[in-house]
């Protein structure tokens, strides 16, 4: 088998891996900004450690991992949790606008972890985001490397995508602190709901129109839904005040 040139393999693997890397970073940054960074980063590192063990053990046999059931399971968990934050974000933004959470809401547990020890919710979200997307990147690298008979170039492309987008995520985490947390929770809830919907359905073997680009469509649909629900809640509050 003739090796493909290094540049085409690096570029192709980079582009394919970039999609997965963006999804991974979006989840980790979103959870970290909303829930706190310590446990999120711990979860992300745990995810990379899990990946390293899986990759070392399986090696080239990675491409035989049944990714469908994994996507379904992780997609389901992300979707049910994402919908909780989606709903809470809608209710909070409808109640307080973009003013932030202010005093703790006695009817809701605080979303930002302030206790000692590990916030296992943040850890789990970050861990499974890194494991699923990292596995997909690893499978892309193994598949492209095998097809091109050039594993080194494929690893370079995949690793470059991961490093670049992790750096972008690191740069973004500072400005994210300026965003009111109620709005941030709504944004991250929308993100998790979109990813969870996409992966869980894809895990069932259902094809999305436009493939990965369908995630963008889902983000738009859920963002519009949130705006409509917020407008409805605000209208109902105004009507109740007028009647009172």
């Amino acid at each position: 088998m003739v090796s493909s040139g290094i540049v085409p393999v690096v570029i192709t693997t980079f582009l394919a891996s970039a999609v997965e890397a963006v999804e991974m970073v979006a989840i980790v940054v979103g959870v970290g900004a909303t829930r706190g960074w310590r446990s999120t980063i711990f979860g992300a590192f745990s995810g990379f450690a899990t990946l390293a063990v899986v990759v070392l053990i399986l090696g080239a046999a990675l491409s035989r991992i049944p990714i469908g059931p994994l996507r379904l399971a992780i997609g389901f968990l992300l979707l049910v949790f994402g919908l909780q934050w989606f709903r809470k974000g809608i209710v909070r933004v409808a109640a307080r606008g973009f003013a932030g959470m202010g005093a703790a809401d006695p009817n809701d547990s605080a979303e930002q972890w302030s206790g000692p020890g590990v916030d296992w919710t943040a850890w789990f979200l970050a861990w499974k985001g890194v494991v699923l997307e990292g596995l997909e990147i690893a499978i892309i690298v193994v598949s492209f490397g095998a097809a091109a008979n050039n594993y080194g170039a494929a690893v370079l492309g995949g690793a470059s995508a991961l490093v670049i987008f992790l750096a972008v995520g690191f740069i973004l985490q500072s400005p994210l602190r300026l965003i009111p947390r109620s709005f941030l929770q709504l944004v991250v809830g929308t993100l998790l709901t979109a990813f969870g919907t996409f992966w869980s359905v894809e895990g069932l073997g259902v094809d999305w129109p436009a493939s990965d680009a369908a995630i963008l469509g889902l983000l738009v649909v859920y963002a519009v839904t949130a705006m409509l629900y917020i407008a409805r809640q605000r209208h109902q509050r105004t009507t109740l005040r007028a009647v009172a």
């Binding site: 949790f81 789990f124 709901t193 869980s200 859920y222």
Partner: protein, 73 residues
């Protein structure tokens, strides 16, 4: 030592329950039911990608109304 191990054994399913169900079980049930129906439709070669977004949107609306019933505006 046994008490500590036992508390870990209980903690994991409790964590998963809170993670999945949260404060409204109807959403988790709706998502599960939606995925089952999607799987059935797909198995019968019916285009089914559109169902889960609709389920998510409707479940959110129902959950918001339930929230306001429990905590009036």
């Amino acid at each position: 030592m046994n008490g500590r191990i036992w508390s870990w054994i209980i903690a994991i399913p409790r964590f998963l329950y809170n993670f999945i169900v949260g404060d409204d079980w109807t959403v988790a049930v709706a998502v599960l039911a939606g995925l089952i129906v999607t799987a059935i439709l797909n198995a019968n070669h019916i285009v089914a990608w559109w169902l889960m977004p609709i389920i998510a949107i409707v479940a959110t609306g129902v959950s918001i109304e339930r929230h306001y019933v429990q905590s009036p505006r």
